[in-house]
Symmetry: D2
Subunit: 156 residues, 4 copies
């Protein structure tokens, strides 16, 4: 979560490489297997999605205050390849797979940042997250706000 790492990934983002967000592994993320608890990658994915949306001008709390709506996750698929441990630095990516008016599908992955510069990051896990939009009061499905869809289409 160092300043330079964050800056590099954003520069890369502007070249149409996927958006990347650094996530450090803390005690809270691990389990008695000595590795990151698998369900926590869904949290890491969401942190990266949130920061990616924020960079595209979509702030979720403000959007809810203004529209009365919010995102809900409707499908998650994650495939786990390798484990991460305490103190590891992960790079978490997000990119649009499909952007409709009723749902978005976001492709995501978590990579282990290499200990030495020049080494390639190792793929830890990859997933696909489908998201819909509901009114926050009654949780009824609604169309995703136009400004969100347009922001994502520009990002694709």
């Amino acid at each position: 979560m160092s300043a330079s790492g964050s800056g590099e990934t954003r520069a890369a983002g502007s070249l149409k490489a996927p958006f990347t967000w650094p996530v450090r592994v803390y005690w809270e993320d691990t389990d008695a297997g000595g590795i990151v608890f698998y369900a926590n990658y869904l949290k890491f994915f969401e942190r990266a999605r949130t920061e990616w949306l924020r960079q595209l001008g979509v702030a979720q709390q403000r959007l809810r205050d203004e529209t009365g709506g919010m995102f809900v996750v409707t499908d998650t698929q994650v495939r786990y390849h390798r484990s991460a441990r305490l103190d590891d630095l992960l790079l978490v990516t997000a990119c649009v797979r499909e952007a409709g008016r009723a749902s978005l599908t976001i492709g995501q992955s978590a990579l282990l940042s290499p200990a030495r510069d020049g080494d390639a990051p190792l793929l830890l896990c990859e997933g696909s997250i489908r998201i819909g939009w509901v009114d926050a009061r009654h949780l009824r499905p609604q169309r995703i706000p136009t400004r969100v869809v347009e922001a994502l289409q520009g990002a694709g």
Copy 2:
């Protein structure tokens, strides 16, 4: 979380022993130290408080729907003595320490259920949780609803 265990602790409860709620340790609760992550005892304490309140006739979601208010935690103190591991069965207690109109203080502890009948439970940690009441919309402090205070006074 077995039926008989739960029944025994409730029977004990009616004899003015502290309310006790069984909590099993799962992978989600542990960390890379191989033990329960210390912050999770606050969750275990809250599960026991919630079930204790429910037994006293206080259901929090319904109370919020009816009054527009909710509990907030204002102070926590926990002292840790021993660790618990995956698959351990804990007994979590709750009792009133102080019940005013503006705040409640609840005494709590987590004990390791003995592997053999007849052995005494081991104290893992103990704490004190102070709780206030706010309106859920603006989070402004309010008096705790009379029915809650009365339910707890009867329990003391």
Copy 3:
């Protein structure tokens, strides 16, 4: 997590209905949307899997102490249909979909327990969890211990 509820679901289990484990929704499980945070269903699924294995004679901590190995999750798929709120009582199921020597696939679902007896539970979400076995020290894939595979084959 009442005694009678737990007893009923176990009785049902012996008639080859899927194993069912009751899970109560607490504050820790919810998010600012007012509903259960989607990633937490993976925790609920794991609690049910753990209790189901325990009922089949497979205690994970003891198994690790004896064999030096442990389960790891290699794939998760979850489809979300409806939301649950604070204080809801869920029924979480687990059943074998596929039991090989290198991996298990477990089918799982979470249902909302009906407020009135006689009403049918509502499906909240359903998923599929694939699990492998590794030695706990080096995380290298290994065959699942025979006693585990046999216990699950008897359960299917």
Copy 4:
């Protein structure tokens, strides 16, 4: 968690202001009250402690690999003043209160980063965390490694 924010706090750190680590509030951190779940501040505190130790040259996973020991938390006290919401940016501080051979006491706080430059951060909560050292295999208390105590004494 912006680059500039992080840089400023580190610069401040070198002037003997307390170490400060930025933490963004995500969905995972909130509960159905619409605010950060109180137990999660213990996680935020630990992230800040971990980064502070890392900056002082103390990397916990490496230390464990080299010494066979690890930190355990023995006491936590937190007082909550104000709430944080989704998307808020927090500043989490850490400083030594007491550094002995058997235990450390760390003072911590979480502040709400002001929306406008020039405004002062608002205190959300403050706490005190006492930490001991154990051998990781048997969890027996031991003296804190000299290099850790010395690193912290230099930081005080």
